[in-house]
Every structure is written in C-alpha cells, then in structure tokens.
C-alpha cells in the first residue's frame, strides 16, 4: 500500500446526497468503495450524450415510451358526480413488462455495463422489479440473480415463472419475515461478497447514496413526459400529482418534474393494510420512526428497541417497512402530503377503475386510485385537475384478488382457495 502522507478525507455526510437529515451511506466498509464508485460515475454517465441517447432509444424502441396519458372522465364522475375533477392517468401500465420499474432497470444495467460489471443482482417484492431486471439482463445478455422473500415467491408465483423464463436465477429468501426487506438483506449479502464484478440494481429510491438520487433520475422520464403532455392537453399544470408509495420510485419519478412548480400539490399514498391501529400495515409515513437500515437513514417501522418490523399490504410492492429518504424529506418540509389507503379500499378501487375505464391497475396503483378521495377532500367545492401515476397493470395480481373480489370465478375455474393470501402465522 503506497499512500500519500495526507490522504484526501472521504466526503462528509453533507456531501452524501442527503435529503435534509435523511439519506446517507450507511453500509459496511466492504461496500463503501463500490458505492463511492457509483456516486462518482453515475453523474458522468447521466451527462454523457452517448449514454443518454442509448437510454432514450431503448426506452422508445423497447419499453414503448412515451407512455400514454389517458383522461378518466367516468372514474372522475364516479368519485364525485357534481363538480367532477378532471383526472389524467399516466399509463406506466402500458410499458413493456407492465410497470414503471423497467425505466430504472434499463438505466442501471446500462450503467453497470459502462462500469465493466459482468453480473447483476436485484431484490424483488411483487416480482415487478425482478421481472424488469431479468428483462433488462436478457436484453443486454448479462447473468441475473433475483432475491425474493419466500412469502412473495408463493404469492407472486406468476412473476417467478416469468423471471425464470427470462433466464434469471430466482433465489427464495427464508430468513426474517421472508418478504421484501429480507430479500434486500440477502441481495446486500451477495453484493458484499461479489462487489468487484457485480452491480446491485436496487428497485426503488432507497438504499445508500447515490441510489435514491439515481433511481429518481432514471424514473423522472415519467414526470417529464407527463408534464409536457398535461401542458399540451390542458394548457396548464395539474393542481395535484398523485402516486402510490412503496419505496417511492414511481412517486419520485413523477414528482421530480413538478417539485419546483409550487402551485402543484404532491400527494403520496401509502398502504395501511388492515389498519394502522393493527400490526398489519405498511404505513411508514404514519407510523415510522427515524432509523438506519438498508444503507440509509429514513423513516422505518420499528420497535422501540430499534428492530425492524414486518410490514403488511395486500400489494406486495407496497409491503415494505421503510421509505426512500427523499419522501421523508418532502414530507418534513411540507412539500408533499401523504395519506393511507387500506387493503379493502385498494381492492374496491381496482374494481372501480376496471369497470369505469376498462383499465385493470396493479394493486399498488389501485392504492393511488383509492387515495383520490383524500385528494378531493383538499378541494371542497372545486373541480381540480389531477394527474395520477398509474404505475403498473394488474395482471400479476389476479391470483391475489380473485379470492377477494370474485369468489364465483374461483368456483368456475375449480380453485378451492386463493393461494395469493399471506399466511396468518405472520411468518
């Protein structure tokens, strides 16, 4: 080891892409150099016209961007018959693989290739991010390992089959609560051992800096497109932008284009599962406390003694006890508001959108639809213009919802019991 006598000190916390008191790089020393390399190289890639051209070409020719903006007048009327709002849906459900997740995966796998990494790992909850990562890896010819909680493997079995069909290795994680947070732990453990040749594609605006920032930038195409589409369609900016919040990437992606527009309200909808007063919810904003986990400092559901708690939501993509640090900051500063929606409300909203507009949303996105009643309550006697991020489509959730929404269908197709429900033993 040959070193200068006065080595430059690593950056102070203020320089770590922190969002107020949230964010940071709370990882073990083994990972620190990889995280530093990303923080150094990511901004260079993001300013490189060649990188941007390739990213945008793939989004256009493969993902199918720009995604449509669809007005939903029948939904609007169903929500409020007199003075109905105008509701516009940003159709991320129409993307290749069925959700916004692919925007991020294409960008990160491109970046991994640029950094000379030869193997990709990812965590997944609903399986959407896993499918999107497996897809990007198939596209770029990279080996891909996806960690998935054993609980989620069972309730999102269709996506397990999709990932495997795409050539990815799916590793069920049995430790802890066997859900998304444990899949993240397992992916981090893999990365600690494989960091020299492997890139970890984190699926949301979370984890150590620069991930929250990088994933937001890779998702901001949603907001940039929607902002231009709204201006073209209505001649003005929307009054409110609404999105569901798990880790928070689809929400940050659409918020990013409107944060500076102070006339636009930003609203995030989190999952209250069976109710915030029960132990089975994922309401990090309502019930989370400041903590350090998964490489960041942010709000998290935890015990008084600092142990992370299991989250619950009928939507596997929102079933996470934490939230990205920028959301914690946006709430702290009052720039964004957050409301909660229960399992039951989300199921009703899924049905409502399907039957009024002929669009079956993902259960995650159905939370945003259900959250519209909270948005409307902010505009008594007015008819606001609302932009809603429809982050994904519901095909993946049919298995989960059929027992809840349509018992007759179960009988018709001869299934005795919906296996999409999480076990009641809490493990």
């Amino acid at each position: 080891m040959n070193q200068p006598s006065k080595p430059p000190l690593p950056p102070s916390p203020q320089m770590l892409g922190s969002f107020g008191e949230f964010g940071g790089r709370y990882v073990s020393e083994t990972l620190m150099p990889a995280v530093e390399q990303l923080a150094e190289q990511w901004p260079l890639a993001w300013q490189d016209p060649e990188f941007l051209r390739e990213y945008n070409d793939i989004l256009r020719d493969y993902v199918g961007r720009p995604s449509a903006l669809t007005e939903a007048p029948r939904l609007a009327k169903a929500l409020r018959a007199s003075d109905p709002p105008r509701i516009f849906l940003k159709r991320e459900d129409l993307n290749h693989t069925g959700a916004h997740k692919i925007n991020n995966c294409i960008g990160q796998v491109l970046l991994a290739r640029r950094l000379g990494k030869t193997r990709i790992i990812a965590e997944t909850g609903a399986g959407q991010h896993g499918v999107a990562t497996a897809t990007a890896c198939a596209y770029f010819g990279m080996p891909c390992v996806v960690y998935m909680g054993a609980e989620d493997v069972a309730r999102q079995s269709l996506n397990v089959v999709r990932m495997r069909l795409l050539g990815a290795e799916v590793v069920p994680v049995h430790s802890g609560s066997a859900t998304l947070k444990d899949a993240i732990n397992a992916a981090l453990r893999d990365w600690v051992a494989s960091v020299r040749d492997t890139h970890y594609v984190i699926g949301s605006v979370m984890g150590p800096d620069p991930y929250p920032l990088m994933v937001r930038e890779l998702q901001r195409v949603i907001g940039d497109e929607a902002r231009a589409q709204m201006l073209k369609r209505t001649g003005k900016l929307p009054d409110t932008v609404v999105a569901c919040v798990g880790g928070g990437s689809n929400a940050m992606g659409i918020f990013a284009a409107f944060v500076e527009d102070t006339s636009v309200d930003l609203v995030g909808i989190e999952a209250t599962g069976e109710g915030v007063e029960t132990a089975r919810h994922a309401a990090t904003m309502a019930r989370g406390k400041l903590g350090i986990y998964h490489g960041m400092r942010s709000l998290v559901l935890q015990t008084d003694d600092g142990q992370l708690q299991e989250a619950h939501s009928i939507s596997a993509g929102l079933d996470y006890p934490g939230i990205g640090p920028e959301h914690a900051h946006l709430r702290e500063t009052g720039r964004a508001k957050y409301f909660g929606v229960s399992d039951t409300e989300a199921l009703e909203a899924m049905q409502l959108l399907a039957q009024t507009e002929g669009i079956i949303p993902a259960l995650e996105s159905a939370h945003a639809i259900a959250g519209l009643k909270h948005v409307l309550a902010l505009y008594p006697g007015q008819a606001p213009v609302i932009l809603l991020n429809l982050s994904g489509r519901g095909d993946k959730d049919m298995h989960t919802v059929m027992g809840h929404l349509d018992p007759d269908a179960l009988e018709m197709i001869g299934v005795r019991e919906a296996s999409g429900k999480k076990g009641t033993d809490g493990h």
Partner: protein, 271 residues
C-alpha cells in the same frame, strides 16, 4: 480527533500489550448476546471466557444484520425471539464485567438499535455496563463522528473496520478513527465465509494494515480452525473468531470452552 488512550486503565490496550509480551496474538471471540436466551447466553459467555478468550466481542442482536452470514443471522433471530433488547444486552455485559474484571468487552452491532436513544444516553449506558470498545458495522467514517467522539469521552474505544476492497485513502481514514484496534475484514464477503489463510493477497493485505495502523491490528471473518489461527498469529495482534464459536456454543458450553482453549493455544507464536 480522539487519540489512542494507551493508559493502563484501558483493558483493551493492557490486553494487547500483555499478549505482545507473551508473544501471542490476542484471541477475540464473538458471541451473540441472548443466544438463545439470557441465562444460557451468560453461561456460554462465561464458558468462552474461562476457555481463554483475550477479548470478548459481544453481539447486539439486530433484525436485519446485512453483513453477517447465516450462522450469526440465526443466532440473532434466536436472541430476538427470547426478548433481547439493548438494555438486556448491557445487563448481560455488566454481569460478565462483575465476573471477569479485566476482560475487555467490545460491543459489536448495527447502528439502528444503538441510535434509537440519544447518543449521550447510549454512551453513558455503555460506560456503566463496563463496555471497553464499540464496533458498528454500518457506521463508516462518514457517519461515525458523533458516536465515536461521545464514546471516546467516556473512555470507550472505537474499532475501525477495513476491508480488502478499501483503497489506501479510505484505510488511512479508518485507521485515524480507530482507537481500540483496526479490524481487518479478511475476505470480500459476509461473516462465516471460507478463508484461505495461505493466499498471498491476504498476506499483502495484512502487511498493508500493519504498516499503517497506529493501533493493534486484528483480522477476522472466515477463521474457524486452529491451523488458520497458527498461520495468522505471527502476522497480526489479534484474531477474531465468530461464526465458529457460535456453532460450537450450539453443541454445548463444554464444546465452546474446549474450542476456545484450542484456538487460544494456537494464538501462541514461536517455533
């Protein structure tokens, strides 16, 4: 910046110095507190100390231990199931302190359970429990200043972590922070992985640490067998064994005591 407190009241410094005099590396043994519950954990910890541990690394259970392999993960799950809390762990540490007055105890853990309380409160609790050093896996130099300095003010040393992936400039920063010892992670991986003590890269890595560290240097991760310990003892000041002790403790306290004795013997240099 905190300076290395080498006064004779510092149990860590005293232990490393006396091991040096005895021409042996210090055996640093890790066990998870409350595995599988408070009483059995106390009994196992006592057995390990009686077997000849030079330094005890006492693990604070955490629900999401991302730097640990399956053996320690499972130990933490068992501990949490039996109701482990930070207060409970410190109570256990206090009992060990009463029994083994000169044993240096380093608290090992993750930031979240420690930082649930204000830093001033935490370091006071640690001091009262007789804790000598602090090793927090997910508080790299960028984030450790407050806790490290508050601990130093109470005479609690900071253990700095270096990894094989750590470039020289970062290693220098880690070493500048360290007051207890520098913990060189032997391999790129989690605890309990396999380590080849004969690899030339490992030797070069250890040489680099020893050349630049201003404190004792310990090496850990993947050390299981007496032969590995014998190979490493001439090169470092301390050797950390974790998963293998947890595994031995699952068999019986006697097995654990015997395992510690065997490893402690292998720490002797010479021949």
């Amino acid at each position: 910046m905190a300076t290395n407190d080498a006064s004779t009241t510092n149990r860590l410094a005293v232990t490393f110095a006396s091991c040096q005099t005895a021409n042996r590396a210090a055996l640093i043994g890790y066990l998870t507190a409350f595995d599988p519950d408070e009483e059995q954990s106390f009994e196992r910890l006592c057995a390990a100390c009686e077997g000849g541990l030079d330094v005890l690394e006492l693990g604070v259970p955490f629900s999401d231990p991302t730097a640990d392999g399956p053996v320690i993960q499972e130990a933490m799950v068992r501990a949490l199931q039996s109701g482990a809390t930070l207060d409970g762990v410190l109570r256990l540490a206090g009992r060990l302190r009463d029994r083994f007055a000169d044993l240096p105890i380093v608290l090992f853990g993750y930031a979240n359970p420690l930082l649930r309380r204000p830093i001033a409160t935490v370091v006071e609790l640690l001091e009262n429990a007789g804790i000598d050093g602090l090793l927090v896996v997910d508080l790299p130099p960028e984030h450790n200043v407050e806790l490290r300095q508050a601990a130093a003010a109470r005479g609690i040393s900071w253990v700095g972590l270096c990894a094989p992936t750590t470039p020289p400039a970062r290693a220098a920063r880690v070493m500048a922070d360290a007051t207890g010892f520098v913990y060189g992670v032997s391999l790129t991986g989690v605890t309990g992985s396999a380590l080849d003590t004969n690899s030339p890269e490992l030797r070069t890595y250890i040489d680099g640490l020893c050349t630049h560290a201003q404190t004792p240097v310990a090496i850990g991760f993947g050390i299981k067998h007496a032969e590995q310990v014998r190979a490493l003892a001439p090169m470092v000041d301390g050797i950390v064994v974790g998963s293998e002790l947890v595994r031995a403790s699952l068999r019986s306290s006697d097995d654990l005591r015997a395992k510690v004795r065997e490893l402690a013997n292998a720490c002797r240099r010479g021949d």
